[in-house]
């Protein structure tokens, strides 16, 4: 009856259309990065002359120009960003799973319903709306210009909690918890040694999202950090925008952007299989 979908020709045409659309969007996503890499290898004078699809020979001089620029300490900023993002990501996934486990496993404690409803409610509250009170409070705590205000709040991540709870509801059998109880394990230990390993696929994906979110974060850090040495990468890159472009070395500019982008892309390309497999595993289980 459904000739269109079952016949070989119809399916082939369908496939070709899919591939064309996919290739178009793939190229669209790749184009900015291709130009970035090409221009990071070209000298300022060459870039001014016009676009070229081929690599230039000024990688080293552009690289040195970035390292030499004391007004924009990029390497330091990368390190700062990495420390903050890695800590935030670890705290976010661990404590989101922790909280979701509490709600999912213990069905009968006083504030359970309220707690779950409350977290779902605050999922909709953007961090920006409390920014004013946040910077004010951090100033009172004497934490302005430190990393703590950028790390500790990651423990409470409502969206990740919600994801973990859905994941547990669909694919965490209570029998395992009960079996651990019969073996006499305490609940905290059960969570760390049995539940966490079972959640690995979901945790890995969420850890990447959390890392990216913190790594990209610009709004709160630019309000908290003001000393040159504590600046994170997004703050420093944003400062390049205010540079005088009639004088600025464009080769250095592209190289600076590459500094912010290329390491992440390399790490991503190495881990992408795990990410994709993690997503796949998480899905199949549920």
């Amino acid at each position: 009856m459904k000739r269109k979908d079952d016949s070989g020709a119809g399916l082939t045409i369908h496939r070709v259309i899919c591939y064309l659309v996919l290739i178009f969007f793939t190229l669209l996503a790749l184009f900015p990065f291709y130009v970035l890499i090409v221009n990071a290898t070209r000298a300022h004078a060459d870039i001014q002359k016009g676009f070229s699809a081929f690599f230039g020979g000024s990688v080293v001089s552009n690289f040195k120009a970035v390292l030499r620029d004391d007004a924009h300490p990029l390497v330091r900023a990368m390190l700062n960003s990495f420390i903050i993002a890695a800590s935030s990501s670890a705290l976010t996934v661990y404590f989101s799973a922790f909280t979701a486990y509490g709600i999912n496993t213990y069905k009968d404690f006083k504030f359970r319903k309220f707690a779950n409803g409350f977290i779902l409610l605050i999922m909709m509250v953007p961090t920006q709306v409390s920014a004013l009170g946040f910077i004010d409070l951090m100033a009172q705590f004497g934490l302005t210009n430190t990393f703590w205000p950028l790390i500790i709040p990651s423990i409470a991540a409502p969206a990740v909690y919600y994801f973990m709870l859905s994941y547990m509801e669909s694919s965490l059998p209570m029998e395992i918890v009960e079996a651990a109880r019969i073996d006499g394990a305490n609940e905290f230990k059960t969570f760390n040694t049995i539940i966490i390993p079972m959640l690995k696929p979901a945790l890995a994906v969420q850890a990447i999202f959390a890392f990216v979110q913190s790594w990209n974060n610009y709004f709160i850090p630019q309000l908290i950090i003001d000393s040159k040495n504590n600046k994170t990468l997004p703050i420093l890159i944003a400062e390049l925008r205010s540079a005088d472009f009639t004088k600025f070395n464009m080769g250095q500019l592209y190289m600076s952007i590459a500094f912010a982008i290329v390491p992440v892309v390399i790490v991503y390309l190495i881990l992408s299989k795990q990410i994709v497999r993690g997503v796949t595993l998480g899905g199949v289980k549920g």
Partner: protein
């Protein structure tokens, strides 16, 4: 599944009354108190770092703040002014214009994003299509999401500048005669902001939706195929209803993200929202007030943002979550 869980809780409940005397004898120790232990860190951190700041932000919106210059020292004066700040914000054209800009640029990016992501997610998981190299496509389209928004904006600024590569390519291709000033046209600048948001998020959304689709019981698809359902029918009657929870999650998080739009237009226009403030978002406006220590106005705009996100989220929930029929459908299909 849910029935099993209920059984699991009734045991501790009945054991509760005599747990004091014979806790060990009956295996039903009351584990429920552990619930407090597991939710404590979240609430502690949330209250200190989000809730208290939120309340004080709200409080600030009812105060006027000014610096009084004394002979020896400066002093910040807080004076209660009631709803004066609200009157100012609501009559300020900037408020409405930045709200409009934010919504326009979000929609311009999100509508294509959800369509393309749903399309890709269904293609990648289509058992009949069996597309090759899906791993490669997924890897590439997700990549822009890892890119820091500020670096990406800086890159787009360089790419689309009057003597940048894009203009150069367009001139050489004979599409335009002289360089097009992208950042002098409201439509072009907004379009670039939307394009960047689209590129950064469509891969992420595709992966989330794929995970949801792959979580659906494969036997549902198999039986639908045996019954001769087309890809479109399978998508509408099986995939869409079953991934609705994740779809709600995607829409809500994107909407909240849209209201928060800041990094991209801020850096692309160097904080000016140029041309003529057409790309200035609500959070850029908030940021300006935070920098000029205009706390009364900043607090009021924050409250407005809070109310807006609350309204939008409730609307999405009401529209997308209809009385849940998926459970009934599942049972019916199983009984067959």
């Amino acid at each position: 599944m849910s029935a099993k869980l209920e059984d699991a809780n009734t045991i501790p409940q009945t054991a509760k009354s005599n747990s004091g005397t014979s806790g060990k004898k009956i295996k039903g120790v009351n584990y429920n108190k552990w619930g407090y232990f597991f939710i404590l860190p979240f609430f502690l951190v949330y209250i200190i770092f989000q809730l208290i700041p939120l309340v004080s932000t709200f409080r600030y919106s009812f105060y006027e703040h000014y610096i009084s210059q004394g002979l020896l020292s400066e002093e910040v004066i807080h004076r209660f002014v009631g709803i004066e700040n609200y009157k100012t914000v609501f009559t300020d054209k900037e408020t409405w214009r930045t709200l409009g800009n934010t919504m326009i640029m979000w929609l311009m990016g999100f509508v294509p994003q959800i369509i393309i992501s749903l399309l890709f997610a269904s293609w990648f998981t289509d058992l009949r299509l069996r597309l090759k190299a899906t791993g490669l496509f997924k890897t590439v389209i997700y990549m822009p999401n890892l890119i820091m928004a500020s670096a990406f904006s800086m890159l787009f600024f360089a790419l689309f500048s009057p003597n940048g590569p894009v203009n150069d390519i367009l001139i050489h291709a004979g599409i335009i005669k002289e360089s097009f000033r992208f950042f002098s046209h409201a439509g072009a600048t907004r379009g670039l902001v939307a394009l960047m948001n689209f590129l950064m998020w469509f891969g992420n959304t595709t992966i989330l939706l794929m995970a949801a689709i792959m979580g659906i019981d494969p036997s549902l698809y198999e039986s639908a195929q045996i019954d001769g359902a087309s890809s479109g029918q399978i998508f509408r009657s099986i995939t869409l209803p079953l991934i609705r929870p994740i779809l709600v999650y995607v829409v809500i998080t994107s909407m909240i993200g849209g209201l928060q739009m800041f990094d991209v237009p801020q850096i692309l226009t160097d904080g000016t929202g140029s041309p003529y403030g057409t790309t200035k978002t609500m959070v850029m406006n908030l940021n300006e007030h935070l920098y000029s220590k205009n706390y009364g106005m900043a607090g009021t705009i924050s409250v407005l943002l809070f109310v807006l996100s609350a309204i939008l989220s409730i609307a999405v929930f009401l529209i997308t979550i209809r009385p849940d029929t998926s459970e009934v459908k599942k049972k019916k299909s199983k009984s067959k």
